[in-house]
Each structure stands twice: as structure tokens, then as C-alpha cells.
């Protein structure tokens, strides 16, 4: 009876035949209340189909209903989930052993056939605007060895297989044979092996969950969870203060001071994996569209191609001032892709020291003793305080002699221009979902190359053959220690060349009613299984 949520107990009080039960559990009523959790999240979940749209809120909810072969812990390190263990049998074969006795919410047993079915479904979800097919593409062949063993063959060595598989939620061959995205959204197909069952779903409003008592992992603390989407920042904070929700994510930096002072509220925070950085126009050797001389006439050559100019611009920025004042402490200054403690973090690569005089000297050395003019672009609705950050940088650059105009635009129109190489310098962010260096190296700074699939988000078209060569060597290296050394080497090359200019790494902050405890995640996911009553151990 302890498992009943509060409202059912209310019903029980009215029913005379419950009297005996009630007498038994009357003392436990406060605990019964504590079995429900209402969460307010800032980004809407767009689909319950775990393979339809790759988006953080969808992944978070995916982790509650489904499970992957592998998973990642709070610091984005790969840990076992449905697979108990895995190993590279040879250069191009990964073997995964499944956990035994796992059942889907509808009682169907998990076998290797289900995994094979899932891997076949992933690239073939109709109309997907952002498919998970990129993670199954390296797999050439799936071999079902026995009911609980599986081999994945790749064309070339692929060290990231266990990392990538943490993103693919496993479905049931019997249940999901003809499942459509609509079937998941409506409910009947939202059946997985995860810690919660989906009870109801109102698109863009809320999702209700119930505990899966047959879950193979640690039992979640909550019998019922309501996952409400409250996109307005101020309204989300107000809902927490009013007691309508007990837990919120994406706490706006402007509310941090107020919430820290509030006796009823506790905060949890962790340094995330999202780097905010500036990109320069590397695509043009001649005039860059938003760089001119001091009279407004185009410069014959693009000064941003000169590493001294890039270094000067980096030295002219006071990162500490931005993280302290603009971000109100919700970020740490960054000198590379990832925070300390991550796989392939380079210890000696510190954030560039603020040195406006040195910046002026370097600019003079590069042939710009009087500086030049530039327009710095950025989004105004994408990252916390994005438009205020570029304003601050604009002032700092101007002080160092580079007269800077600042132009912020909504993400939808900004990102299209950035992707067409229309801009000279702009602010953008990158979340390294895998928590290791190959992900940003491949996507952000590798030479744009359609065949290899490298540099797809390299919007400044930075290119450094030496970094490319080391990265490619790392991508063939199955030995973790050797791969880490190679990734560190590539990272060092990119940042010594100021291929991109790192600003800061965001901290992720959650707020909750006192009496709750939360295990914060570097990957920003907000999941009910990470929240517990304070004092209750895992």
C-alpha cells in the first residue's frame, strides 16, 4: 500500500472497505505524498519516438522510457546498460553481451534479435528531420551470435561504437514491428525497458509517467512523475516558488541569486559540455564581408587569416568578466573544447590571459597599428545571455583598437547566414554529447569534407591539414590511451592556431524544493530517475 500516490489515498478514505488498509498505512501518509514528483522543463519534448528527432528533451524522456545498450553517467562516461559488457574482438568487430532477464513494459523479453531490429529501424524512420542514422552508418553487418550476444562489423576500426550506441534506444521486435512516430506519441508504442512507463502524453504540455516496478536497474524513487513543459523562464521559476512544480531545469542566470537566497529552494549544478566560442571567417583570403579599414572601405586581404590577429582578438577578451558578470557565475572560462576531467582534456591549455596591451602590440605586428573595423554577429535567443556576451566582447575589442559593431539576430535567421559563410566573425555554441574530444574535432574544426562527413558544423571553414591528419589517426585507434594522446595533440594544434576562439563552458543548473536531491548531469538531460528525496541513498 505504500506505493499509492496521495490522490488515490484520498479516494481510499471515502471507500469504507479501505478502512483496514487505511489504519495500517495512516502513519505513512507523508511518505506516500513524497512518491509523486512534478517537474517543469524549459524545452518542449517533440516526440516520444526515440528514433525520430535527435533533440536533448527527446533524449531525456527516451532515457526514462527506454534503455540503450550502453548509457552515459553524469560525467558523460560510457557505462553498461542493456549490455553487460563489450569488447573489440578484432579491428572491425565489436561484441556486445546483453543483460539477461530484461523485459519490456509489456512483458516481452529482450533478446539480441530486438537489438538487430532496432539497428535496422533507426535509419529508416520516415520524415525524420534529424535522424539517428548517422550512428548506425559505420555498422556494415549485424550478427546475432546467440540470444544474448551480438557482433557489429564495421568497414574500418571504429572506437566510438560504445559511445554512439548510448544514443540508440532499444525497441522490441514483436511490439514495434510496424510502429509509427504517431503510434509512439499517442502512447501505445511508447513501450521500453526503462525505469518509467508512459501513462499519458499531451503534446507540448505534459507527460505523465508511472514507475516500472520490473526495471532491472536501481528503482526510481517516484511512483508517479509529471513532466511539464514550461518554456517561459520567469514562469518556470514562479511555478517552482508557487509550489506547482517541485523541480525545474534551465534556471535563468538572472534568477540564480534570488533562488540561492531562498530558504525553500535548493540548487544543483555541474560544469556542462557546452562550449561557447567565436568563429572566424577562414573561407576567404581576400576581403571578408564584415571587415573594413577604419574608413569603412573593404580591406584587400582578410586579416582573420593571420594567426596573430586571431590571437590578439582572443587576448583582448576578459573571459573572467564575462563569466562573472554577464553569466553571473554560471560558466567557467575555457581554453579548449571540454572541461577538466574529460577524456582528451589538455591540462596545459589554459584560457587565454586577458592582455589588451599585448593584443595591441600583436595587431601592430600584423600590420594593423590602427586596428580595423569588424561586425561581430550572434544569436539572441539560443544560449544564456548570448546577445549580452557579444556586446561585451564588442566593447573589449573596441578598447583594444578593433572597432566592433555588434549584430544579434534570432537563431533561425542567424544560423542560416552563418552556414552560408556570410559572416566574418560570430558567436556560437557546441555541446559535445560524447564528452570526448573527437566529437568537436570532427564537427567543428576538421576540414569541411562531405565524403568523410567531417567539418559539417565548421561554419568558418577552418582548415589545418596537420590537425586533420592526427584526428584521422585517432579515429582508427582502438586503444583508449593512445587515442586520448592523439586527440590531445589535435586539440593542441587547433587552439595554438586559434582555429576557433573559446570563451566559456556553461554550467547546467537545476532548482528544486528543499528536501529533494538531484544528481546533475553534464549533458544537460533532465530525468526523473536522477531526483530523489534528500537523505535517501541510491
Amino acid at each position: 500500500m505504500l506505493g499509492f500516490p496521495g490522490d488515490k489515498m484520498g479516494w481510499c478514505i471515502r471507500a469504507a472497505r479501505c478502512a483496514a488498509v487505511l489504519a495500517m498505512s495512516a502513519a505513512a501518509v507523508p511518505e506516500v505524498r513524497a512518491q509523486t514528483l512534478t517537474m517543469g522543463v524549459g524545452a518542449p519534448v517533440t516526440s516520444l519516438d526515440p528514433h525520430y528527432h535527435q533533440l536533448s528533451p527527446n533524449i531525456a524522456v527516451g532515457h526514462m522510457i527506454f534503455s540503450g545498450l550502453t548509457s552515459t553517467d553524469a560525467h558523460a562516461r560510457v557505462v553498461p546498460d542493456l549490455a553487460e559488457s563489450w569488447q573489440a574482438v578484432d579491428e572491425t568487430t565489436w561484441e556486445f553481451r546483453l543483460r539477461r532477464g530484461v523485459r519490456f513494459h509489456n512483458g516481452s523479453a529482450l533478446t539480441a534479435e530486438d537489438v538487430a531490429f532496432t539497428l535496422a529501424r533507426v535509419p529508416n524512420v520516415p520524415n525524420s528531420p534529424s535522424s539517428y542514422g548517422i550512428y548506425t552508418r559505420p555498422i556494415r553487418e549485424v550478427q546475432v551470435v546467440d540470444s544474448h550476444t551480438l557482433r557489429l562489423k564495421t568497414a574500418s576500426p571504429y572506437p566510438l561504437m560504445p559511445t554512439d550506441l548510448s544514443l540508440l534506444m532499444i525497441l522490441d521486435r514483436e511490439t514495434h514491428a510496424n510502429a509509427t512516430t504517431e503510434g509512439f506519441n499517442a502512447g501505445p508504442m511508447a513501450v521500453g525497458t526503462g525505469p518509467f512507463r508512459m501513462a499519458s502524453h499531451r503534446n507540448g504540455d505534459r507527460i505523465e509517467f508511472e514507475r516500472n516496478d520490473a526495471y532491472f536497474g536501481a528503482a526510481p524513487a517516484w511512483q508517479r512523475v509529471t513532466y511539464r513543459m514550461i518554456t517561459n523562464d520567469a514562469a518556470r521559476t514562479a511555478a517552482l516558488l508557487a509550489g506547482d512544480v517541485e523541480f525545474i531545469d534551465q534556471v535563468p542566470t538572472s534568477d540564480l541569486a534570488k533562488l540561492r537566497a531562498d530558504q525553500r529552494v535548493a540548487l544543483s549544478e555541474i560544469t556542462g559540455l557546452r562550449l561557447i566560442f567565436l568563429t572566424f571567417d577562414h573561407a576567404r583570403t581576400e576581403a571578408s564581408p564584415f571587415v573594413t579599414d577604419n574608413d569603412g572601405k573593404p580591406l584587400p586581404k582578410n586579416p582573420l587569416k593571420d594567426v596573430r590577429v586571431r590571437r590578439a582578438l582572443s587576448m583582448a577578451v576578459d573571459r573572467g568578466a564575462i563569466t562573472d558578470r554577464v553569466m553571473e557565475g554560471a560558466a567557467i572560462p575555457a581554453g579548449q573544447f571540454l572541461p577538466e576531467g574529460s577524456f582528451s582534456y589538455v591540462p596545459e591549455l589554459a584560457p587565454t590571459r586577458y592582455d589588451p596591451e599585448g593584443a595591441k602590440r600583436l595587431l601592430a605586428e600584423a600590420g594593423f597599428p590602427q586596428g580595423f573595423r569588424i561586425t561581430l554577429h550572434g544569436p539572441n535567443d539560443r544560449y544564456p545571455n548570448d546577445s549580452r556576451i557579444i556586446q561585451a566582447i564588442g566593447q573589449m575589442w573596441t578598447r583594444a583598437g578593433v572597432r566592433t559593431a555588434v549584430e544579434a539576430a534570432p537563431w533561425a535567421s542567424f544560423v542560416a547566414r552563418a552556414g552560408r559563410q556570410d559572416l566574418s566573425s560570430f558567436l556560437i555554441g557546441w555541446g559535445s554529447s560524447s564528452g570526448e574530444g573527437s566529437n568537436p574535432l570532427r564537427n567543428l574544426t576538421a576540414t569541411f569534407d562531405r565524403e568523410k562527413g567531417y567539418g559539417a558544423s565548421n561554419r568558418g571553414r577552418y582548415s589545418n591539414p596537420e590537425a586533420d591528419r592526427v584526428l584521422e589517426a585517432a579515429m582508427r585507434e582502438l586503444d583508449d590511451a593512445k587515442r586520448e594522446a592523439l586527440l590531445q595533440q589535435a586539440t593542441r594544434i587547433v587552439f595554438e592556431d586559434v582555429g576557433i576562439m573559446p570563451l566559456h563552458i556553461q554550467k547546467n543548473t537545476w532548482a528544486m524544493r528543499k528536501g529533494l536531491a538531484h544528481a546533475p548531469r553534464a549533458d544537460e538531460l533532465t530525468r526523473a530517475q536522477d531526483v530523489r528525496p534528500a537523505g535517501a541513498g541510491r
Binding site: P129, G133, N203, R228, P410
Partner: protein, 323 residues
């Protein structure tokens, strides 16, 4: 009457067509939906696949023709984000918005008309001056600020009302409604008040102006001379005559509330159509934007029609045939 209706329908069709074209061009100019929807980790091949899957690889005019062809068969396209028919998404959200808009309009009439009448009849009393001053606040305070203040005072400080969301609903006629449950009503109060503030002020001012003008008319003097009671003069003769502008404005405002109560719906996390359209604009979900605006155009045309018919009921001099 039939000719009038037919002509209106033709106009409607033309407006809807132009509207769809404008929205198509507009969204095309803003940016590329794939850039926004796709996972940042997607490589070039995956990007090309997504562009094809969403039908964005065709030239714009071809995309538009495909859309028109489907629309004629009643299919307004599937949402890029939700992979569900755009029209169904909109209709799913409609009850939430409708009950809020109807509630706010009724509230505005219940408060605005009596206050406006009073202010018109006793223009020099301090109470009337107070009412007018209050209506200035109603006009000029920004909706999002008032909404947040309501939440801070009534939900956070006093704890009388729930801060956000829709609360409990019951299903009637296959749609979910809040106003039939206690909890739902409690959730409705603040967004409803927030939406109606502007309308209350508008109705107060319109009513007051109308009353002051009408009171000077000859027929009012005549009625008074005839010895009719002041109550009858006000409530029957004056009232009927001032209603025409009020009905027009309330009708148009009602349409505006349904279509664009974006701010209130976002602040109160009210899962209505306004929230759907702003979310869709943010991710350039073109099918939903086009379908939404077409639904709204149809709605405005219907509201105007109802307003015209109401005129003829209120004022027999207005005839709909229009020779």
C-alpha cells in the same frame, strides 16, 4: 443574403490563397528549417537526407504547388517537428485557446459595459475619472509584465491560485475542456484576467464615448420629454445605439485573442494555439505555420460575417443585401 454569403466565400478563398503564398515566401526568406531541426552532429550526408525527407530539395515554386495540390485534398501537410498532420495539431490545441478567449471576452463585457455606461452617464463624478484612469493602465501595461505580476502575487506570495498550466480537464465532444472542472477553472482565472485587461479598457472607452454622444441626440431628449424613466432610456434606447461599434471591436478583438494570445499563453504555459504558433515559428515548422495562418484567416472571415449579421439585428437600417 445568399449572394452576400457567396461573395464572402469567394473573398475568403482568394485571401487564403494569397496568405499561403505570402507565408511560404516569408518562411523561405527567414531561413532554412533543416539548419534548426537537425542535430548539430549530423554530417553532410545526413543533412542532404533530411532536406530530401522534408521535401525541401525541390525549387520553391514546386514545393508550393505540391502544397496547394495536397491542400485541395484537405491535407495541409505534416509538421516537420511532430510528424503529425498540421491541421490535427492545431485543432488539438484549439479548445484550450477558445475557452480562454471566450472567457476573457465575457469578462471584458461584464466589467467593461457597466463601467463604461456609468462613466458616460456621470462624466464628472470622481468615480468616472477613476475608471478612466484605470483604463489607461489597462491599455498601457504590457501583457507579459501583468501576467508575471499576477503569478508573483496570487501564486507565489498568496498561494491562492496555481501559477501555470491548464489543470484538470474533462472530455466533451471529443475535446478537452478546463472550464468544467474546479481545478481547471482555478487555472483559467489568471490567464483570463490577463487577456481581458486590454479589452476591458477598450470597451469602457468605447461605451463611454458612445453614451456621451448618444445622450445629446434628439431622440433621447424626446424620450425624456415623453416621460420615459431614465433606466429605460439608458438600457433600451441608448444602449442599443452604442452597441454597433462595441460589437465590431469585440468581434475583431475576439479573433485577435484566439489567433495571437501568444504572450499570455507562453507566460502561463497554457497549451493553446498561440503557444503552438510561436514554437513553430522558432523552429520554422513551415507546414504548421501555413496551416495555422490559413485557419486564422478563415476564422477572421467567419467572425466578420457574424459581426455583419449582428449589425442587421441591432440596427434595422443596416441591410446585408447591399444593392
Amino acid at each position: 443574403m445568399t449572394v452576400f454569403l457567396l461573395r464572402r466565400l469567394l473573398q475568403a478563398a482568394a485571401v487564403v490563397l494569397v496568405m499561403s503564398l505570402l507565408v511560404f515566401l516569408g518562411v523561405y526568406a527567414i531561413g532554412d528549417p533543416v539548419e534548426i531541426l537537425i542535430s548539430p552532429e549530423a554530417d553532410q550526408i545526413e543533412r542532404e537526407r533530411a532536406i530530401k525527407a522534408l521535401g525541401l530539395d525541390l525549387p520553391l515554386w514546386q514545393q508550393y504547388l505540391v502544397f496547394l495540390g495536397n491542400a485541395l485534398r484537405g491535407d495541409l501537410g505534416r509538421s516537420f517537428v511532430f510528424n503529425e498532420p498540421a491541421l490535427r495539431l492545431i485543432l488539438d490545441r484549439m479548445p484550450a485557446t477558445l475557452e480562454l478567449a471566450v472567457g476573457a471576452t465575457i469578462l471584458a463585457l461584464l466589467i467593461g459595459l457597466p463601467l463604461g455606461l456609468y462613466a458616460g452617464l456621470r462624466p464628472h463624478s470622481p468615480v468616472s475619472k477613476g475608471i478612466l484612469a484605470g483604463s489607461i493602465l489597462g491599455f498601457s501595461l504590457p501583457t507579459f509584465w501583468v501576467g508575471l505580476m499576477l503569478i508573483m502575487v496570487f501564486a507565489v506570495q498568496l498561494g491562492w491560485l496555481p501559477s501555470t498550466g491548464r489543470g484538470e480537464t474533462v472530455t466533451v465532444l471529443g475535446m478537452r475542456w478546463s472550464f468544467l472542472t474546479r481545478d481547471g477553472l482555478a487555472h483559467m482565472i489568471m490567464p483570463m484576467v490577463n487577456l481581458s485587461l486590454f479589452k476591458i479598457s477598450l470597451i469602457i472607452r468605447l461605451t463611454r464615448a458612445g453614451v456621451r454622444e448618444t445622450m445629446l441626440m434628439d431622440y433621447v431628449k424626446f424620450a425624456r420629454a415623453k416621460g420615459l424613466s431614465p433606466a429605460r432610456i439608458t438600457l433600451v434606447h441608448v444602449f442599443k445605439n452604442i452597441l454597433i461599434p462595441v460589437v465590431t471591436v469585440v468581434g475583431l478583438e475576439f479573433g485577435g485573442t484566439i489567433a495571437f494570445s501568444v504572450v499570455t499563453e507562453s507566460v502561463f504555459a497554457w497549451p493553446g494555439m498561440g503557444k503552438l504558433i510561436i514554437d513553430s515559428i522558432n523552429v520554422l515548422d513551415r507546414p504548421v505555420m501555413v496551416a495555422y495562418l490559413m485557419v486564422i484567416v478563415l476564422m477572421f472571415i467567419t467572425i466578420n460575417l457574424v459581426v455583419d449579421i449582428t449589425y442587421s439585428v441591432l440596427d434595422p437600417r443596416v441591410r446585408l443585401e447591399g444593392k
